[in-house]
Structure formats: C-alpha cells, structure tokens
C-alpha cells in the first residue's frame, strides 16, 4: 500500500465524492516520473475527477494524494468548454499566459519569454496567427493554441483532459507528436482519452477506471476484453439507497455496525471482484 517514494503523483486510497456519492472510490497507486499514462473508462467513471484532484481543484482527504511537484511545475488542460472564447484576447497573449506560473501578475514578458511563445506557436503549426483573436479560431486551432501554452508552461507534470475531442485526424497527429516529444523529454504525462486504439498505439501505461480502479499498468495488460467488460458494467446512476462505505470507518464503529452497513455499498457488493481490486498495488 505504501506508495513508491520516487513517484510524481501517489494515490493512497483516494476517494472523491460529490454529495457523498463517490466519483472515485479507494484508488491507490502511483505515476512514475517520465511515465506516459492514458486514463480510460466510460463516461462518469471519474477520469476528470482524478485529474482535478491531482491539480488541486477538488479537495482530497489528507494523505490520500501526494504530488511531489510545486503547483507551477504542473500544467493542466481542461476540456475545451471551460474557456471563454468570446474574450478579446489574441493568440500571442493567450500563449504568453503560460508564463503566469513563473512571472505572476507583475513579471515582465521580456524578449526571452516572447521568443518561447513564438517557438511554441511554430511547434504547433500556428505561425502567422499571433495577432488573431482567440474567438476567430476553429476548435482544432484553439486546441493547438492550448498546446502552445502548455509548451510555454514547461511543466514537469502535464495533465490532459480529453485533448483530442472534436479535433480532426491531422491535428490529432500533430498534437500527439508533441505528447511523444514531452515523453522523450522525461516529462510525466497523464491524458484522459476515449479512443482505445489510439491508447494502444501511443500510450505505454493505462489506468482503467470505473469509479473503482479496474486496472493499472502496461496498456496491453490493462486493456483486455475482460477488463473493458467490467468497466462497461459500471452502474452510471447513483444509488440513492446505497449504504455507507466502511473501509475508512473507525474500527469501533465498524465493529458495532458491521452488520447494518454494507461493506462497500450496494453497487460494489453486486460485483465483489471489483470491490477489492482497488486496493491492490498496481504494477
């Protein structure tokens, strides 16, 4: 159970709930430095919740989540819908905001930083777009801008939430090349993805979620038919009548109410195999 000391992100029995219904249920394991991991699972399986917890947008129980990096060394790309596209800002300023972590509200942009912005725009194939307004871009172009900002952020841990959604094949290929480049530079990359074939082709590690941990390790070992079937069997609806989970309950209470409280809630009980796989230390 004790997480690897050299891990970039270590999860120890992490549970995150919305109104007491767990979106992530007792997840343990760790992301090694320089690893390239795909997070897969059906809708509502807690993939985005996991990323948000790592970034600190959702509170985690003390000790359940350890990130071995300062906040400015972490870059997070949320799903595209979270950005105000009508805002009057041009592409160059938007990418320059990637320097926010290092220069804050008052640091100068400087020639070196502007050169980094130009290089990043070149790397994503958006030369000549510097003065275009963000609102005039297509979805794919905007995603390229977001990747340019990630390049400028120069982070050691990069979290991508469905980065290739609504993006065409050409743009996906270009952005995937950047992900591979980051992997080559020993950065840790965690990406939420829906395309299993893309994951098999490009991501060495996979974390398969269905609120509980279904599998975590080498992609070929995790994305098996049996695992995918188990993930798909996840009940999407909250069970309003579910009992209280007893894993974290203090011992005396557990002993006193052991019979009244279902060990893992109704849903887990119907699938006892998955209820405890969450506690295994992943490969």
């Amino acid at each position: 159970m004790v997480a690897d000391a050299g891990a970039v992100v270590a999860l120890a029995n992490l549970t995150v709930s919305y109104r007491r219904h767990p979106a992530l249920h007792h997840i343990s394991g760790s992301f090694a430095p320089g690893s390239l991991t795909a997070v897969v699972g059906p809708n509502g399986s807690g993939k985005s919740t996991l990323l948000k917890s790592i970034v600190g947008l959702l509170p985690a129980a003390p000790g359940a989540l350890r990130v071995a990096l300062a906040p400015e060394r972490i870059a997070y790309l949320p799903q595209i819908a979270d950005i105000d596209r009508s805002f009057p800002i041009d592409v160059r300023d938007c990418v320059l905001l990637g320097c926010w972590g290092e220069c804050g509200a008052w640091g100068g942009a400087g020639r070196a930083r502007l050169a980094r912005v130009d290089a990043a725009l070149k790397a994503v194939g958006l030369e000549g777009f510097e003065r275009r307004g963000v609102g005039s871009l297509s979805t794919g172009q905007l995603q390229r801008v977001m990747f340019a900002r990630l390049l400028v952020q120069d982070a050691a841990l990069i979290l991508l939430d469905e980065p290739f959604n609504a993006v065409d094949a050409r743009t996906t290929a270009a952005l995937l090349a950047l992900v591979r480049r980051w992997h080559g530079e020993q950065r840790t990359v965690i990406a939420v993805l829906h395309d299993d074939s893309l994951v098999r082709a490009h991501f060495p590690q996979t974390l398969l979620l269905a609120r509980e941990l279904v599998g975590w390790g080498a992609t070929a070992d995790v994305l098996t038919d049996a695992n995918l079937r188990r993930a798909r069997a996840m009940a999407e609806a909250w069970d309003e009548a579910a009992g209280l989970c007893a894993i974290d309950a203090p011992a005396p209470l557990q002993a006193a109410q052991g019979r009244a409280i279902d060990r893992h809630g109704a849903q887990a009980a119907s699938n006892p195999a998955s209820a405890h796989s969450a506690r295994k230390t992943p490969a």
Partner: protein
C-alpha cells in the same frame, strides 16, 4: 467666423468659465469616466453587467447609517457606503467559495437583503428628499471635499486596475487555469469587486448611486461594439464616458434638466449610435459588403 466663435463660447465654454460649480462637476465626471468605464468593460467581459446595479443598491444601508450618524456629511455617507458595499461583496464571495451557489446567485441574495435594510433605515430616519438625493445625486452640488474624493478614488483605482490587469484578464478568460496555478485566484475577483464598490460610492454624490452605474456600464457596453481588442475597448469606454459627461453637463445647463440623468442620457444616445454604426452593430450587417477570396 466671429459669430461661430461667439456661439461656441456661449454654448460650450462660458458655462464652465463662469460658474465654479460647473467646473467642479466637469472635473468630477471626467475623473469618474476615466476610472469607472474601464471597470464596466471588465464587468461585461465577465457577463456580470448587472452586478454594478446590484452593488449600487448594496451600498444603501451603509450610506443610511452614515447619514444617521453624521448627518448630510459626504465623508460619513461615503465611508458607510464603501464599508457596506465591501461587506456585501465579501459576504457574497464567501458564500460562493464555500457553498454550491454561483457568484451571481449569492450576490443577488445578499444585495437584496442589504437593500431592504437600507430602505428601512432611510424611511425610519430621513425624509423622502434625502432618499432621492442619495439615489440620484447632483453633479452641480459637488463641493471641494467631494471633488477631492472623486479625484482620489479615480487615481487610486486607475493605478490598481493597471496593477491587477493581467490577473483580471486571466481570471475572466480562463478561470480554471488560474485556479489550477493555485495563486489565490479569488483575490483578483474580490479586489476587482472592491474597486467597483469604491467607484460607485465616489459617483454617488455626483450622479447618485443609481446613475453612477450608468456611467460605468453604458460606455462599456457600447465600446464592445467597436473593437476586438481589450485595450481599445477600455480606451473607447473612457472616451465615450467623457464625451457623455461634457455633453450631458452642457445640455443640463442649457435645458435646465437634472445633471445626472442628462449625462446618462447622453451616454445612452452614444450607445444608440454605436448600435447603429459600430462594426459590431446593425448597419454593417445590412450593408453586406462583398467578402474576400480567402
């Protein structure tokens, strides 16, 4: 030629040259244009155009308590107004942070409570006339301390807005990015709301709390029709507010109308013109100019 010069002098310059109260009103409204209109642009960008209106009501209980304690003293009423406005903004911020309510909902709830409190206090301790004065103000009644307050507030808030510019842009454009960087993102929001409160209170003697919102929002809304970049929108908003101030003061002098509403009326006229002819307005759509090849 001399006839035209004389006409210009009579209509546009002599009111200011002859009367000190007109000069003070002019300086006060120009200073306010410089600081309040850019704040309005940020409010529209954050889709909080109606927030100024809410906050202008929220200062009322403070103004009333200031009036009860210090009489018709500008300092007491202004101080009370600022404190009340900041308390409402801070309370709403706390509610937003620690409950499921969004910013607009929590602010609406709290400002309505503050407004009820303010009206109760005023009707218990003043006359109808006092309430009218507070709500609609009088630019022509600005005295020296009032002028100093407006000028001071405008200077400080322009400087603070410049200092907060990058944070505010980031917070409006991509709040999740700011929150992920964990640099106290909510501080920008709160600081910005404080600036809005201070500007509304600075405007309350000149224009009244309700009309002060007009100088903040009308030029801001119409400036967004003119430009695609933020810097241009900010400048345009200030310029329109200044134009409305000068025109409004002159009109109210010649037509003998109340100055505050006349100034806002002029800002409204500029807005109508912008609606018609600005690049984002109606006319360019009707003209249907031919498109380019690529």
């Amino acid at each position: 030629m001399t006839g035209l010069a004389a006409w210009l002098w009579d209509t546009a310059l002599s009111p200011f040259a002859e009367f000190a109260f007109m000069r003070r009103a002019l300086v006060a409204t120009l200073a306010l244009s410089l600081s309040a209109a850019p704040l309005g642009v940020f409010l529209t960008l954050r889709r909080m155009s109606l927030l100024g209106d809410a906050l202008s009501h929220a200062v009322l209980p403070g103004v009333a308590i200031g009036f009860m304690l210090g009489g018709l003293s500008l300092t007491a009423m202004a101080l009370g107004g600022v404190l009340a406005g900041m308390a409402v903004a801070a309370l709403a911020g706390l509610v937003t942070r620690f409950t499921a309510l969004k910013e607009d909902a929590s602010l609406a709830a709290i400002y309505l409570m503050a407004l009820a409190l303010g009206v109760t206090l005023i009707s218990g301790h003043g006359t109808q006339l006092d309430l009218l004065h507070i709500l609609f103000g009088s630019a022509l009644g600005v005295d020296r301390p009032g002028l100093l307050m407006v000028a001071g507030v405008a200077s400080v808030s322009v400087v603070l807005l410049a200092a907060m510019y990058r944070g505010l842009v980031l917070e409006s454009f991509d709040p999740v990015f700011l929150a992920a960087s964990r640099r106290c993102g909510w501080l920008w929001q709160q600081g910005f709301l404080m600036l809005v409160v201070v500007n509304l209170v600075a405007g309350f003697q000149t224009l009244g709390t309700l009309m002060a919102v007009g100088l903040m929002m009308l030029p801001a809304v119409s400036s967004r029709l003119w430009h695609d970049t933020l810097a241009a929108q900010l400048l345009n908003a200030s310029a329109q507010a200044m134009l409305a101030s000068v025109a409004g003061l002159l009109l109210s002098y010649h037509l003998d109308t109340p100055s505050g509403p006349t100034i806002i009326g002029c800002a409204g006229a500029l807005y109508m013109v912008s609606l018609l002819v600005a690049p984002g307005g109606w006319l360019p759509r009707v003209l249907r100019r031919r498109h380019r090849l690529a």
